[in-house]
Amino acid sequence: MKMRRIFAGLLTAATTAFAASAVAAEPMQLSFWYPVDLGGGLAKVVDGLVGDFNKMHPDIQVTATYTGNYDVTLQKIQASKLAGTLPDVAVTEISSVPVLGALGAAQPLDELIASSGAKQFLDRFWPSMLLNCRYGGKVYGVPFQRSTPVMYYNKDAFAEVGLDPEKPPITWDELTSVAQKLTKHEGERTTRWGIELPLEAFNWFYYAITYANGGETLSADGTKVLWDQPKNVEALQFWHDLVNKYKVTPPYTPWNDGPQEFAAGKTAMVWHSTGSQAFMRQNVKFRWGLGRIPKHTQFGPPSGGGNMLLYATDPARRKAAWTFITWMSDAPQAARWSIASGYLATNIASWDRPEMQALIKGHPEVLVTKAQLADAKAEPASAKYAPARDILNALIKDVLANKASLVPATKQAVEEANAAMAR
């Protein structure tokens, strides 16, 4: 009897479901590519966000696909452009906006932004986060997994050497003296570095020190690199001094090792992405804090991370994709994503949400990231910047390791880079 009732119930449910699906139009299928790490579980957060979007929008079905790191995702999109198999929406590193715009892969968003209130829509974001979103006078990107570098520091180590654990260095001079106090040697060997400035393919910390010194790294039209300008040379000299004169930082730290070396006590301070906060919260066993990237003449952390770009050309698909993009960048989702990952809450209103306020209560250091949002600067970008990026990377490594002398090597690198970008 009971069995029969259950069976009947199932049957009714099945027929209703069938009827419902027959009535409703096929949902629009959208593809969304994202480059995000899994170790920290961030891909699951993306899946959760996309799942919720699909539940709330029965007429749109977004499929999220992991596409490797930033560089590989860009390659995959470039190949897909040639084969005509572009996704509808994809997240790419911010400096690839001009690359994908020039390729004709990414589509401008201006008319969609106009439909969402134009200025009113753009004003939702911190102005600094929109700097890397434009190409050729048009808007292509909407901020998503955005970041700036911040300085993680070990409060216990500060206390140990008699420094105020609540006062991270904020100028170059303070940084140098604090780092000297924190560096520990055992004979010839350094057992704890004062600070580490890990290097990655995008040369973030070169931009960080140049901006802090009031310099620029790329001409406004994007055709010439400015590495040989006095402010740039002075900035790289400062980094070189930290390595070779004061010996408070190693000549080279691989990017991905920085946070773990910090967690292991191998360095007392490390510059890294705000996106590494989730890792620090989970893994660091001592008291730690966040400081701004120290200034020389001004605060000016470079921005980084990824924007959402739209690739669909069909009007109906574009509209659905735009619904997805606006939902993902809306205050509740921006707050949720920021809290889970440590990426910046790029939507200004998301900072007023109760969950964000709760996070600030438990982790007041998050306010440092907010302060940096106010004065963050653009990452250098142009359609042909990629070779220059690699030349600069080699230059930094060689100069810091004393394999090349700063001024002549910089001069040569500038010539190579300008020639490569002119091709």
């Binding site: 593809s31 590519w33 480059p35 995000v36 790490d37 899994l38 170790g39 920290g40 579980g41 961030l42 891909a43 499929t63 696909t65 992991y66 596409t67 490797g68 790191n69 930033y70 560089d71 590989v72 390659q75 995959k76 190949a79 040639l82 084969a83 005509g84 198999t85 590193e93 997994q145 970041s147 057992t191 704890r192 990655e200 393919a201 995008f202 990017w255 991905n256 090792d257 920085g258 946070p259 773990q260 070396e261 967690a263 292991a264 006590g265 191998k266 890294h272 992405s273 996106g275 590494s276 989730a278 890792f279 989970q282 893994n283 660091v284 066993k285 980084g304 991370g305 990952s341 440590g342």
Partner: protein, 274 residues
């Protein structure tokens, strides 16, 4: 006396070399069991303080590894069978038959050896797109159905089989493909095995191509799962990455462990026969 000390020196040198090879493997295993803050300690830790079995659970859950395993096995086996079939047939023709244009074809095969695989990626990608094969098993298998390396390697092995043997076999009615199957392939077993191992490892480890041509977990392979632990922006959980690497590399290590013995034995066999 002199001989003994020479022997000791030789063993010492071999031991040192073995240590260099074994060290990364050892570090991989140890790191897989470490807590995150033990990965980079000022002085290296040779053993984890606590054995973190949990790393393996977290790593396994980090990506759809169960599905990736099945896919990797399917794809690699399919590629291997296709390559063995096409390479041995091509090598048979190139080594044992005379026909017009043989030299040119052989030159083409050698030429294909020199071309880096990356050069072919874009052309292959567009071809697959035209076939409508992107995002399917075909995209993972078809571009690797033939192998210039395998063809060349087997051709060299087949050349070493004396013509007298083929003549004798022909007298007994064993001709053409039967000769390939009953004589050439068994006699070239070390080469076939060596090629099998190289192809297995190469395609088991292949990352870039599968990532580019697939968009679904349902058909993706193991290296993509591994890469999900490495990022360009935030940090990498090296202990989880090492745990995942361990179970991804395990099948290859096991296969190598067993075939290695077989491999050496077949080497000795062929030596005796000659």
């Amino acid at each position: 006396m002199k001989r003994a000390s020479l022997r000791a020196a030789l063993y010492l040198a071999l031991l040192a070399q073995a240590a260099v090879v074994a060290m990364p493997m050892y570090w991989l295993v140890v790191s897989a069991f470490k807590a995150s803050d033990e990965i980079f300690t000022p002085t290296p830790r040779w053993l984890p303080a606590d054995i973190e079995w949990h790393n393996f659970v977290l790593a396994w859950q980090g990506a759809a590894f169960g599905r990736y395993f099945v896919n990797s096995v399917l794809v690699v086996l399919a590629i291997l069978l296709l390559q063995l079939a096409t390479s041995s047939l091509a090598a048979f023709a190139l080594a044992r038959r005379r026909f017009f244009g043989r030299g040119i074809i052989l030159l083409g095969v050698i030429g294909a050896l020199i071309i880096p695989i990356q050069v072919t990626f874009l052309a292959n990608f567009i071809t697959l797109q035209r076939f409508g094969w992107l995002d399917s098993y075909w995209a993972l298998i078809a571009p690797f159905a033939a192998s210039a390396f395998g063809t060349f390697l087997l051709r060299q092995a087949f050349l070493a089989v004396p013509q007298a043997l083929e003549d004798a076999a022909r007298l007994d009615g064993c001709t053409g493909l039967a000769f390939l199957w009953h004589f050439l392939l068994p006699l070239s077993r070390p080469t076939v095995l060596a090629f099998t191992l190289v192809a297995l490892v190469a395609h088991w480890n292949d990352y870039f191509w599968p990532l580019i041509v697939t968009n679904r977990d349902a058909i993706r392979t193991l290296p993509i799962g591994l890469a999900m632990f490495v990022t360009q922006e935030v940090t990498t959980d090296w202990n989880l990455l090492m745990a995942a690497t361990l179970f991804v590399a395990a099948p290859m290590l096991i296969i190598f462990f067993f075939t290695q013995r077989y491999f050496i034995r077949s080497h000795m066999h062929s030596g005796l026969k000659r």
